[in-house]
Symmetry: C2
Subunit: 166 residues, 2 copies
């Protein structure tokens, strides 16, 4: 830690601010999931709209997709992409049991947290894996931190829906 300067502390602070927001949203959703019965979670958030089950599976699949985008590993639940990202809730897919989805939610987020811990500032500012080096030179905002920023909003968006099941 001897090389820390005021500048690097500011950098870390800027990254930490966003990571705190990510962690807060993961926690808020976990707390809500603990509060909701399986029956409540299986309901539609509003008549004819997505069920809590679908939204939970969707959040698992999208967060799981961050592993590859951020160079942290391969998908832990590749089988969730088709029913929860490619298809809509009303496509007639058979969903995994809610217990399994809840386990996957915890697993995916725990693994992401481990991956985040190993990242240095230069990693956060590096391009994510779906942008080419050439494009990244022109668009430096397409970095890994931006994935966390957009996925935090994604969590908040669906949290606003899941609370309707309370």
């Amino acid at each position: 830690m001897s090389t820390i300067t005021e500048t690097s502390l500011q950098h870390e602070l800027l990254v930490d601010l966003q990571l705190k927001s990510w962690t807060t949203h993961v926690s808020r959703i976990t707390q809500l999931l603990n509060l909701l019965s399986d029956e409540a979670l299986a309901r539609e958030i509003a008549p004819g709209k997505n069920t809590g089950t679908y939204i939970l599976g969707h959040l698992v699949a999208v967060n799981d997709g961050m592993r590859k985008l951020m160079g942290l590993g391969t998908s832990l639940y590749p089988q969730y992409t088709e029913p929860f990202v490619t298809s809509s809730d009303k496509s007639g897919n058979q969903f995994p049991a809610i217990t399994e989805l809840k386990k996957a939610w915890t697993h995916v987020n725990d693994e992401l947290a481990k991956g985040f811990q190993g990242m240095r500032l230069s990693d956060w500012l590096d391009r994510h894996t779906s942008v080419s080096a050439e494009d990244f030179a022109r668009e430096p905002h397409r970095n890994k931190l931006n994935i966390v920023i957009s996925r935090t909003s994604h969590l908040a968006y669906h949290l606003g829906q899941l609370v309707l099941l309370k």
Copy 2:
């Protein structure tokens, strides 16, 4: 601009990432508001839950509150705090006309955008007005950028609800 170094560019990038997310969410809500009829916006997002009207007023009031928190000025719509923040939707308050709420939405966000444009990195990293200098010394994350981070999530949260009115 002659003093720009790689470090300050990185700093600006980190702040810009978050501002882009803020602007994107304001735009997405504006687009949705343009799409929804007044009748649709006056509906409850789910049976017994908040109406679109209330959520819109709430977003105006909360965004308006950022002016003071960020040292950008005083509230433009102080009369919105009571019905849209202090009180719940079902408190029996008379709400302003939707046309007026939509105008206020645009006005508040336009004024915030102007204020943001005038802020330098040191301003973003400075404490917001509801934290004391002493507390800020211990908790440097309680800065103005963090207000934008939390309020961006707040927009995303309610956007996830407003889309149910489509």
